[in-house]
């Protein structure tokens, strides 16, 4: 099994409305590790995440080139089955968006769409994923309540569980704790450290501190370009590039 789950080759992308873009990004994403994409807003981090599950298909794109190989297959190929891809590459968004359904229905939503009807299978997947997302104890007695009634921190962990229920291989997190209090943030970060044993995790953190806390590997993005990429430990203590150091030290951004 190759150590790299994802290989990105010379990826360039430009949105039609001129916001965020990517320019010639090449990098590898390791299996069973937390890879952090960090840098100032508009640097292309979210855009890169959305290339991995083809969520950019929903946005008007002016130009794109390059390759994103997941397990050796180019997912940007128009022939890719995006439905299968999105079950394999799950995503947690910045704002916790629970669907207007019960907690239970939220968790099994993806599985039901995939055609799973057996109640035992759905229940099993629900319990397993809620436990993995460290929220089972808080919701196990109220699974049929509307998910919107939960607190923001709980909702975000339900969103994480909802992704885990599909048993994906890669989990993308786009500033998943930006709206959460420190305690909820701690719970999400702890969950990620557990999850990386089984999954490949790509995280856009909401602060440099979070990047430093969580990163096995880190990539620094500035205005659509990958400036520096390496092991987290090295990056946050002895960055090679001046611009990386300036950003980490808080001289801009």
């Amino acid at each position: 099994m190759a150590a790299n789950k994802v290989v990105i080759q010379d990826l360039t992308l430009q949105y039609s409305d001129g916001t965020e873009s990517l320019r010639g990004v090449s990098m590898e994403i390791r299996r069973n590790a937390v890879t952090v994409l960090f840098g100032p807003a508009g640097g292309g981090k979210s855009t890169l995440l959305r290339c991995l599950n083809r969520l950019n298909d929903l946005t008007e794109i002016k130009a794109s080139s390059g390759k994103v190989l997941i397990d050796g297959e180019n997912v940007l190929d128009p022939k890719t089955d995006v439905i299968v891809l999105r079950r394999k590459v799950g995503m947690v968004f910045a704002r916790p968006v629970v669907l207007p359904l019960s907690i239970r229905e939220n968790i099994v939503y993806g599985l039901e769409l995939a055609g799973e009807k057996r109640k035992s299978q759905l229940d099993q997947a629900m319990e397993r994923s809620l436990k993995l997302a460290a929220i089972w104890d808080e919701v196990k007695d109220r699974l049929d309540d509307p998910a919107a009634a939960l607190s923001g921190g709980q909702q975000q962990r339900v969103c994480l569980a909802r992704v885990l229920a599909l048993q994906p291989e890669i989990i993308l997190l786009d500033e998943p704790t930006s709206g959460l209090d420190p305690i909820s943030t701690g719970k999400v970060e702890a969950a990620l450290q557990e999850l990386k044993k089984e999954y490949t995790i790509v995280l856009v953190p909401h602060s440099v501190q979070q990047a430093a806390r969580t990163a096995d590997y880190a990539a620094f993005f500035l205005q659509g370009e990958l400036i520096e990429y390496g092991e987290g430990k090295t990056m946050f203590t002895t960055p090679k590039q001046q611009r990386t150091e300036d950003y980490i030290m808080g001289r801009f951004g």
């Binding site: 599950n53 968006v97 939503y109 993806g110």
Partner: protein, 287 residues
């Protein structure tokens, strides 16, 4: 002058506030007084015999049952055609259509459809449904005519209701491996349904009260029995009201106002249903 206003900002504020409040109250007066007037004049006509009997003595006595039943049939007939078509069109426009020449054309058509006078729909229905398609003067032809008139209302309110559903729900559903249609069916339609229903009821309510579109296409002056097939002509409340108010000499005023009252209650109760649906949905909404 400037100085005066500068010093009396609060006075100006109060004056403006009183003025807009007065205007708001003024708009309610015609509606309330119409309802009270009809209730006062028509109330005494209402009896079991009036609601369940046939007209006799050249419509100068008896009941208005065939007109009530006819209006119910026409409303149902209009719903059968306009609701599925209107909702499908709204889904296309809100969820699938890109901003192209074709969709712009469709939108312009819908806007213009809403602006056409109802008597023109009547003539169109006569030409196309009654004569060309040989449906004759019938419930079918009248329902189709009313459907075309109702479509713009249903399409535009349904489209608005669909667009009001947060985009984030769609993004999340698609990111979980949902297709566009699964997302619409399971999340978007469910959330937009109360808004869509409101539009449907408001559209049908207008159709139920219209006279001109059914004048040449399905309405009968007088029928001795109830219609039994969609190809039969029918009596209807608004047309019956027109007939007994203008075409029958020595008509008792009470029957005229009684008929108006029944039509008013029919339309207003549909309105009430729409309001209840809307406020219930708003209370339950999670976004």
């Amino acid at each position: 002058m400037n100085r005066f206003f500068a010093h009396n900002r609060h006075a100006v504020q109060r004056l403006g506030y009183s003025l807009v409040t007065l205007m708001a109250v003024l708009t309610v007066i015609p509606i309330v007084s119409t309802i009270l007037f009809i209730l006062y004049k028509g109330g005494p006509a209402i009896s079991w015999e009036f609601l369940s009997g046939f007209p006799h003595d050249g419509m100068r006595a008896g009941g208005i049952l065939p007109a009530i039943i006819g209006t119910v049939y026409l409303t149902i007939g209009t719903a059968v055609f306009s609701v599925p078509l209107g909702i499908a069109a709204a889904i296309y426009l809100a969820e699938y259509a890109k901003d192209t020449f074709l969709t712009r054309l469709i939108r312009i058509a819908i806007i213009n459809l809403a602006g056409i006078p109802s008597v023109v729909y009547g003539l169109f229905g006569l030409g196309v449904f009654v004569l060309f398609l040989r449906f004759g003067t019938s419930i079918l032809a009248a329902s189709l005519t009313l459907s075309i008139m109702t479509l713009p209302v249903i399409i535009s309110t349904a489209e608005e209701a669909l667009r009001a559903v947060p985009q984030a729900f769609r993004t999340v559903s698609i990111s979980l491996g949902g297709t566009r249609w699964q997302t619409i069916r399971r999340i978007v339609l469910k959330e937009a349904l109360p808004g869509i229903l409101t539009g449907v009821i408001l559209g049908l309510e207008r159709a139920a009260g219209e006279t001109a579109p059914i004048l040449f296409t399905g309405a009968a002056f007088f029928l001795p029995r109830l219609p039994v097939s969609p190809f039969d002509a029918t009596m209807a409340l608004p047309y019956h009201l027109f007939v007994i108010s203008t075409q029958v000499p020595e008509m008792p005023v009470q029957i005229q106002y009684g008929t108006a009252l029944v039509l008013l209650v029919f339309v207003l109760s549909m309105n009430l249903i729409a309001t209840v649906i809307r406020s219930r949905a708003r209370a339950r909404r999670q976004w």
